[in-house]
């Protein structure tokens, strides 16, 4: 698996094939087969990546290829992967496959629904393999539009408002990113005054300090909107709660990670001095997101709102890890992206399964589900335990890595931020157990719940798949660490080159 283009071509072909299907069974099976093969492709990619590294290939990016796209502006279709992108692709493949499985019973406009889901995944895969900033931006936009339609058409509650809010805020974020990218572009010079969007080349250029100071906020905040940077996180609760299950899974699992990845790969990597200059602000905003998101979750009464606010808190860890600018913390941030991706998909999947059966997400109205639908209820509890950072699940690994990395900053400001972030895990335990205690444990609150049927085979497969992902990170984190440490090293070297670092 060395031709990366297959990763975007294949889901695209699947999406188009879906359009030609004649009935909903065909649509489902096509989408399922496509995303299953995509997971195999992602695994093969990871395998080849390991093999290549084991063979001693030390170049920064592997499996590179470039084609000129628009030569007048030196825009290229330039792709390649390092350990961080490989693991993000892997995570995306897991979430997409389980999202397809969990949407098995979608009846209205089935064709369009699966088409949009697959299109969204094309955007995500493309984003993670791009090494050309413009191409990257293009795929970022591809990933935004389907979300608007998915929520506005198949959503629930005040779906038009939520869809509009989400699309506008994410577009606002993209606009900031675009400004940042263009200024960066015009500041580059690869000889004879030629500018470039090439990420690797830019990283070797020295962008003037003043430009970095000016542009870093655009890039970081722009990507930050995607990953629920405080105070631009308000699309998250409304967006998630209105979205259909699979869209929530994609949104929280994949889309929010596009932002984190961009903050790391583009903003921090290309603007090392800007990152150092603004690092306190990032840490401050991330800490607010973490602790304030956690407390805001306490008061939520809807399972989806609980998980959405909890995502704000958990994604705050990604930004905190990046903002701490230590190697351990950045490794932790990458781990948190992957961990939160699969964990939150599992969580939204469980909530969707509960909602499909009980037609409510109100914590107060639910109760005793562990008795009537033990599989679904257990999935909810497992996701909850993962979310509150229980050892053995992925959340523990990533959060502890971030804490260890954050503690390496010995000044009082960073210490307080770290302690507050640590304190959030207690609040997390409170809201998770409160929700689980009322909704799935306790006495049966509604006699109709006795009639419920437990998970179907597709729902079971989706849950097992994601649980497997969560456990494989949580039980054996060392393989992930080996994968991403060299790439983090490069980011750190770039940071150390910055004048402010010395």
């Amino acid at each position: 698996m060395t031709n990366l283009t297959i990763l975007i071509l294949f889901p695209l072909i699947t999406a188009i094939a879906v359009l030609f299907c004649r009935n909903s069974a065909q649509i489902r099976w096509t989408a399922l087969a496509g995303s299953a093969i995509q997971l195999i492709l992602a695994s093969l990619l990871m395998h080849s990546y390991y093999a290549e590294r084991a063979a001693g290939n030390v170049s920064q990016m592997l499996f590179e290829s470039r084609t000129s796209w628009y030569s007048a502006l030196n825009i290229e279709y330039y792709i390649g992967v390092d350990g961080i992108s490989v693991i993000m692709i892997m995570m995306t493949a897991f979430v997409v496959l389980s999202g397809i499985l969990i949407s098995w019973k979608i009846e209205s406009l089935t064709k369009e629904f699966f088409f949009l889901l697959l299109l969204l995944s094309v955007g995500a895969y493309g984003f993670f393999i791009s090494l050309d900033l413009f191409t990257m931006f293009f795929f970022l936009e591809v990933a935004v539009i389907p979300k608007f339609l998915l929520i506005a058409i198949w959503g629930s509650g005040k779906k038009e408002y939520s869809a509009m809010k989400l699309a506008l805020m994410l577009m606002g974020g993209s606009a900031l990113v675009l400004v940042g990218l263009l200024v960066t572009y015009f500041k580059t010079d690869i000889g004879n005054g030629v500018h470039t969007f090439d990420l690797i080349k830019i990283s070797h250029q020295h962008i003037p300090l003043e430009t970095q100071k000016l542009i870093f906020p655009f890039l970081f905040v722009g990507f930050g909107v995607f990953t629920a940077l405080f105070p631009f996180h308000t699309w998250v609760p409304d967006g998630h709660s209105s979205a259909p299950t699979a869209a929530s899974m994609f949104l929280a699992g994949i889309s929010m990670k596009l932002g984190g990845y961009g903050c790391l790969r583009v903003a921090t990597y290309l603007m090392p001095e800007g990152a150092q200059y603004y690092s306190s602000v990032i840490v401050l905003l991330a800490t607010i997101a973490i602790i304030y998101g956690a407390f805001a979750t306490l008061m939520q009464k809807d399972l989806k709102y609980i998980n959405a606010y909890s995502s704000v808190s958990h994604c705050g860890f990604i930004l905190l890890g990046i903002g701490m600018l230590t190697k351990t913390a950045i490794i932790g941030a990458v781990l948190q992206m992957v961990s939160h991706g699969v964990m939150t998909a599992l969580f939204f999947g469980a909530i969707g399964m509960i909602y499909d059966r009980t037609h409510t997400r109100e914590v107060e109205k639910l109760g005793g589900l562990l008795k009537t639908i033990p599989f679904v209820a257990s999935v909810y509890i497992i996701a909850g335990l993962c979310s509150l950072g229980l050892p053995g699940f992925s959340g523990f690994v990533s959060e502890m890595t971030i804490f260890m990395g954050a503690w390496q900053r010995p000044d009082a400001f960073h210490r307080i931020a770290t302690i507050l972030a640590c304190a959030s895990i207690v609040v997390t335990a409170v809201y998770i157990l409160r929700a689980a205690g009322k909704a799935v444990m306790g006495p049966i609150t509604n006699s109709q719940y006795n009639e419920l049927t437990d998970a179907t085979w597709t729902e079971k497969s989706a849950s097992v798949l994601l649980t497997f992902a969560v456990l494989s990170i949580g039980l054996a984190p060392f393989w992930l660490i080996d994968l991403i440490t060299p790439d983090t090293q490069l980011i750190m070297e770039n940071l150390a080159r910055g004048v402010l670092g010395n």
């Binding site: 805001a296 939520q300 260890m404 640590c422 207690v426 205690g437 306790g442 060392f478």
Partner: protein, 652 residues
């Protein structure tokens, strides 16, 4: 002994059982899940005993000193070149002793549960959770790395959560399980920060290296850690106190003890295992594990001592007023753990001065047997009476002779009557306290009198008091109970075995095996010294006998004469109410509601305002794009004139 991978089987067998029963138990193995769990644990127990035999008697000792042996160790999560979480197994006197205690008590509980939990719908799940707990506890005991202990620490916490909430349809059980998890999690936050502080200062997470770097006076790490000061305490003290907070949470020390009495909502055998013999002593174990460092830091050690002694006294006072049999035992557990804690607090490292450390470990060892026996006995009683309340019991001694005798043995043991197990360990603790701190000694002595009193209050109320249980309740019910009897033989056998242990454990030569520095310690029982505590204990028993042996109104009169103090103790000194006030009013209503309100109205309000504002502006200016040619012509002319004026008067 390096490379002894078979040690890994001790925790891995219960883990395998957990996975097996967790995945397939309910559907396929429901009827034999108890047998599977018990048999796999039996193998673990045998390996543990073999390991203990090998360690203590064959090859653990070098030059008269027991060594710390790393059986195996591998890197699990590398944070930075020197700092990593390792998973491994350490063999030293305390871990080997704990291995035996944990597997043995767990085995007894597994066997007891075969009868006690029979007919439960989720029988397999129960055994799966028990196995998960046993695995986590064994992992905790064997930890070679402070982060490893934290991981298993959380895992025992969640197993405890799952088992307390085993009857999840009961709202009280759900509430209790939540409370236990959240209170200990809050304490664990301290533990985590403590780990971060220690790891930052010693640049390692490995216990051996950590202890070496923070105890060697010449080590730059130690000098650095003791000179850094924050609010008048050095980084080292902060680290140790924070770690102790975690220990205080798990071990139900004041002020984190509030979860333990509620945790009694779980099935009684679970209380015997988790909330009496094993998990709740994890805090003591943690302090003992880091004891070389603690012994260097007077402040931290004083915290351990005072918290332990105060908890011991407070719990004993509350225990005298409780009416739920399991809650009395829960407070008694807290009190006894308080003994173990302050015993560590009065100790120092090495030689004669390490008496407190040895005594603490000795008490941990004996307490595990007689307290689990008390809980299993209580379980047998509850099984028969179907109530936890003492008023529903009485006169049971004829109906359940084995339970009666073994319960009596355990009561004598905990009261400190020679030659039962508790006497020996408690004597050592009192002796250590006497030599170190007279105030603590006084508290300990008084508490031991109270202990004898409340334990025999319990004993007499259950087994004597009313003439006979059959007469006390209505005929039909008692008939059913008589058939029921004491329960199955699987319930009686553990009682008998543990009863024997409660008699004999005191003669176990802990002093020569488990000491702070690994070298044997010479101890002797001083008859003169023992007179006071034994007399006090006998006094307590006689008082309880006077008050509770037969039904009378003396206890009530006593309670009335104590007035407000009795009420306060009965209400557990309003600790629950205080916590409830803080969580409900401050955390939920003030902080939580404010955060949610700000988010909805200010942060999101601003976004909505922005959107509304944009819409408003566009509403205002959309008239400009009317598509009417005449209008555009006017704009054009006005513009031209405006520019002309500008050009003529300003630029020119």
């Amino acid at each position: 002994m390096n490379g002894n991978f078979y040690i890994a089987l001790i925790p891995l067998l219960p883990l395998a059982t957990f996975v097996l029963l967790g995945l397939f138990g309910r559907k396929y193995l429901s009827s034999i899940s108890g047998i599977i769990g018990t048999l796999s644990l039996l193998i673990s127990t045998l390996i543990s005993i073999t390991t203990a035999y090998n360690y203590f008697l064959v090859d653990g000792k070098v030059n008269g000193v027991y060594q710390k042996i790393i059986a195996f160790n591998f890197t699990w999560l590398q944070f930075s070149p020197n700092v990593s979480i390792d998973l491994g197994a350490i063999l030293d006197p305390i871990s080997v002793m704990m291995l035996v205690v944990v597997t043995f008590v767990s085995l007894m509980v597994h066997i007891f549960s075969l009868g006690y939990m029979k007919g439960e719908e989720r029988f397999a799940t129960y055994y799966a959770f028990l196995s998960l707990f046993t695995f986590s506890m064994l992992g905790l005991v064997l930890s070679t790395n402070i982060f490893q202990i934290y991981m298993f620490w959380e895992l025992v916490g969640v197993s405890s959560f799952l088992l307390i909430g085993y009857y999840f349809e009961k709202p009280s059980a759900v509430a209790a399980s939540k409370k236990a998890f959240i209170v200990t999690r809050f304490a664990d936050l301290g533990f985590l920060i403590g780990i971060l502080i220690l790891a930052f200062n010693a640049e390692t997470l490995d216990f051996g290296t950590l202890i070496e770097r923070l105890t060697n006076p010449a080590s730059p790490y130690l000098i650095n850690a003791t000179t850094l000061s924050f609010f008048g305490m050095s980084a080292l003290t902060w680290g140790l106190v924070m770690v102790f907070l975690g220990g205080a949470g798990k071990s139900a020390m004041f002020p984190f003890h509030i979860w333990l009495p509620d945790a009694m909502e779980g099935p009684t055998p679970v209380s015997a295992l988790i909330h009496a013999a094993t998990m709740v002593v994890a805090g003591v174990y943690l302090v003992a594990r880091l004891f070389p460092i603690y012994s260097f830091d007077v402040t931290a050690l004083h915290v351990v001592m005072y918290v332990g002694a105060f908890s011991a006294l407070l719990a004993a006072v509350i225990a005298c007023t409780q009416t739920d049999i399991k809650r009395v035992l829960a407070y008694s557990t807290m009190s006894q753990i308080g003994y173990m804690m302050f015993s560590l607090g009065v100790s120092s490292y090495g030689g004669e001065n390490g008496l407190g450390y040895m005594a603490s470990m000795f008490h941990l060892f004996t307490h595990a047997f007689f307290k689990s026996l008390l809980f299993l006995g209580a379980g047998a009683v509850i099984h028969l009476v179907h109530s936890n309340e003492m008023k529903d019991m009485g006169g049971l001694r004829k109906l359940m002779p084995i339970t009666h005798i073994t319960f009596l043995i355990a009561c004598l043991a905990i009261a400190g009557i020679p030659p039962f197990a508790g006497f020996f360990s408690k004597e050592e603790i009192l002796l250590a306290a006497f030599h170190s701190n007279k105030l603590i000694y006084g508290v300990a002595l008084f508490t031991s009198g109270l202990t004898a009193f409340y334990m025999f209050r319990l004993y007499f109320t259950i087994f004597w008091s009313k003439p006979s249980y059959a007469n006390a309740s209505d005929g039909r019910e008692s008939h059913a109970h008589a058939e029921h009897g004491e329960g199955t033989s699987t319930m009686k056998i553990p009682l008998i075995i543990l009863g024997a242990c409660a008699i004999l454990a005191g003669f176990f030569p802990i002093a020569s095996l488990v000491t702070s520095d690994g070298a044997a310690l010479e101890t002797h029982i001083d008859i003169v010294f023992s007179i006071a505590p034994v007399l006090l204990a006998i006094g307590g028993i006689l008082l309880a006998m006077n008050l509770y042996k037969s039904e009378n109104d003396k206890p009530q009169k006593l309670a009335i004469s104590l007035g407000g103090f009795y009420t306060a103790a009965h209400k557990k000194f309003y600790m629950d109410e205080m916590y409830l006030f803080i969580t409900k009013n401050i955390i939920f209503n003030i902080i939580g509601k404010t955060a949610a309100w700000i988010d909805k109205n200010i942060v999101d309000g601003f976004m909505n305002f922005l959107a509304g504002f944009t819409a408003l502006i566009s509403e205002l200016i959309k008239g400009l794009q009317s598509g009417k040619l005449q209008q555009y012509a006017i704009y054009f002319f006005v513009g031209v004139i405006g520019f002309m004026l500008l050009f003529i008067y300003i630029w020119a």
